[in-house]
């Protein structure tokens, strides 16, 4: 099997899922004017760029692309903004958050543009890579807890699938941490596959219509037998 098969599968899945979410979010932003949707759109747009940059970094051999900085920081920052958008609903908070996100995203694009000239090695690679990569897992894990709380309160299919998605993503990020100290292909592949599973959950979460389990069961018990 091509050693790049699983990483490429992950990169392409991440690219298409995040691009789909980003495009749909921007389309809906023009019609709903919800800043939270705009924040989601920008975050997923940056994540899709990290995915395609990672794909290029793994497959382009004619030039050296050090896209790991952009990959790690871009994903951490983007997931962080999604998380931060949960913390407030006020006009001022979301407007300021969106402004910060746009400014930081422009800096991230600069980082991506600099990938051919960035040094190929990280300083203290084991520590730096573990911290940068692990921070993505930490943010995803906090988001996962947020969805657990939301699911306990609202019992919606969306929060269930999103919870599963972020659980798989966070474990996917954490499982690969030992490889930064001792290379381990098996862990690397397992982590990548977990993240692909997380992305599939994420895709279905945004694709399927809202269903509230609690209300649905009330409808079933009271209504369907008489229909």
């Amino acid at each position: 099997m091509d050693p790049n098969f699983v990483p490429n599968l992950l990169s392409l899945t991440l690219f298409f899922v995040s691009l789909f979410i980003s495009i749909r979010a921007f389309y809906l932003y023009t019609r709903a004017r919800s800043r939270r949707i705009a924040i989601l759109g920008i975050a997923m747009g940056i994540i899709s760029l990290t995915a395609i940059a990672g794909f290029a970094g793994d497959n382009v051999t004619s030039i050296t692309l050090n896209v790991d900085w952009f990959n790690y920081i871009g994903q951490t920052v983007s997931f962080s903004f999604i998380l931060l958008s949960f913390f407030g609903s006020s006009e001022t908070y979301l407007r300021n958050l969106m402004r910060w996100q746009i400014a930081i995203s422009i800096l991230l694009l600069g980082l991506m543009a600099l990938s051919p000239v960035l040094p190929p090695e990280f300083p203290s690679p084991a520590v730096t890579k573990s911290l940068l990569s692990g921070s993505r897992g930490l943010i995803c894990h906090i988001i996962f807890y947020y969805y657990v709380v939301s699911f306990m309160k609202n019992e919606t299919r969306f929060s269930l699938l999103m919870g599963l998605a972020f659980l798989a993503l966070s474990f996917g990020y954490w499982i690969i941490l030992p490889k930064y100290i001792t290379p381990n292909d098996a862990l690397d592949r397992t982590g990548d596959i977990m993240r692909v599973c997380g992305l599939i959950f994420l895709f279905f979460a945004v694709l399927l219509p809202d269903v509230e389990f609690r209300k649905k069961s009330a409808v079933h018990s009271n209504y369907l037998p008489n229909r």
Partner: protein, 314 residues
């Protein structure tokens, strides 16, 4: 609460008890009301609060000075305040209501697919609204235009209101009877207090509504209010933000919503968008009904959206 039980069917007892309690409350509440729209709003709140009704709507027939009829929504209350109202307040629903009001139908209780187009019915079903009860209130007395209407093109017309009650489950015969009895009582009270009798018009023409009489005691100035966007707390945590249920369908309302930044007052927004007071009023009502905005007085005090239609002057 008094026990009105009669020892019969529990469902019947409950419906009867609720009807008696609500009727008693109605007689008390009507004393402090100044306009029929307050009564309509009160009834809509009671129907969603006391019966297994998810959404209650009161649609009234109206006519302009050329006698062209149309329907207008006089009240809409959802049991769940986060319910996206654009799915029950739209052209398709108003077209069905107009057909029902013009067709002199009797009260009915139907699955939504028997009343609406398949698209509208499937949309309603998606939100768990499988049934719709339609009750009709008709009277020779003249219904004045809506309290919020600033446009003088509409005239008082004989009362013809369709009450649409959307529910998840079948409503029992006793519940429907209880609702009809409450509506009957409400019409009698309204005829005595709020409605004009046709005989009072000397010329035989339908009278224009006396605007002065409809003014609330201490109206707020709409222009001074500062609207702020109200982001759905559940969006992205409990509800799918990409499902498209949160779009603002009306382009003008979207433009207005875009101009709202929590700092500009309504006067400044009107100047910026170059829209007139009547239009901004209608659009704000639409956004308020969808719970997309909050309104603040200049001193920072929050204005209750539910009384939006009743309290403002321009």
């Amino acid at each position: 609460m008094n026990d009105f039980g009669t020892g019969g069917n529990p469902a019947q007892t409950n419906a009867t008890r609720r009807q008696l309690v609500i009727t008693a409350q109605l007689y008390k509440a009507v004393e402090s009301m100044n306009h029929i729209d307050e009564l309509i709003l009160w009834l809509a709140e009671r129907f969603t609060g006391s019966f297994p009704v998810q959404v209650a709507q009161f649609w009234a027939l109206r006519a302009d000075r050329t006698r062209q009829t149309s329907v207008e929504l006089r009240a809409c209350i959802c049991q769940d305040p986060t319910f996206p109202t654009q799915f029950v307040i739209n052209n398709q629903v108003s077209a069905v209501v107009l057909r029902l009001l013009n067709g002199q139908y009797d009260n009915m209780f139907r699955p939504v697919e028997n009343l609406f187009s398949s698209y509208q019915a499937s949309t309603l079903s998606r939100f768990g609204l499988y049934y719709c009860a339609c009750s009709f209130i008709r009277s020779e007395a003249l219904l004045p235009p809506a309290y919020s209407t600033r446009d003088t093109q509409f005239i008082a017309v004989p009362l013809s209101i369709a009450v649409l009650l959307y529910s998840r489950q079948t409503l029992t015969h006793d519940t429907l009877s209880a609702i009809d009895l409450i509506l009957g009582q409400a019409v009698s009270l309204a005829e005595n207090r709020f409605l004009h009798l046709p005989g009072n018009t000397s010329s035989g023409r339908l009278p224009a509504v006396n605007k002065v009489a409809l003014q609330p005691p201490s109206p707020l100035n709409l222009y001074e209010l500062i609207p702020e966007r109200n982001e759905d707390n559940k969006l992205l945590t409990a509800s799918n933000p990409l499902s498209g249920t949160n779009v603002i369908l009306d382009k003008r309302a979207r433009r207005l919503y875009d101009a709202i930044n929590g700092v500009r007052n309504i006067k400044e927004i009107c100047d910026r968008l170059r829209i007139d007071s009547q239009e901004v009023y209608e659009l704000l009502q639409m956004l308020a009904a969808q719970n997309r905005i909050r309104l603040y007085k200049p001193d920072g005090q929050l204005v209750d959206n539910s009384v939006f239609v009743d309290r403002f002057s321009l």
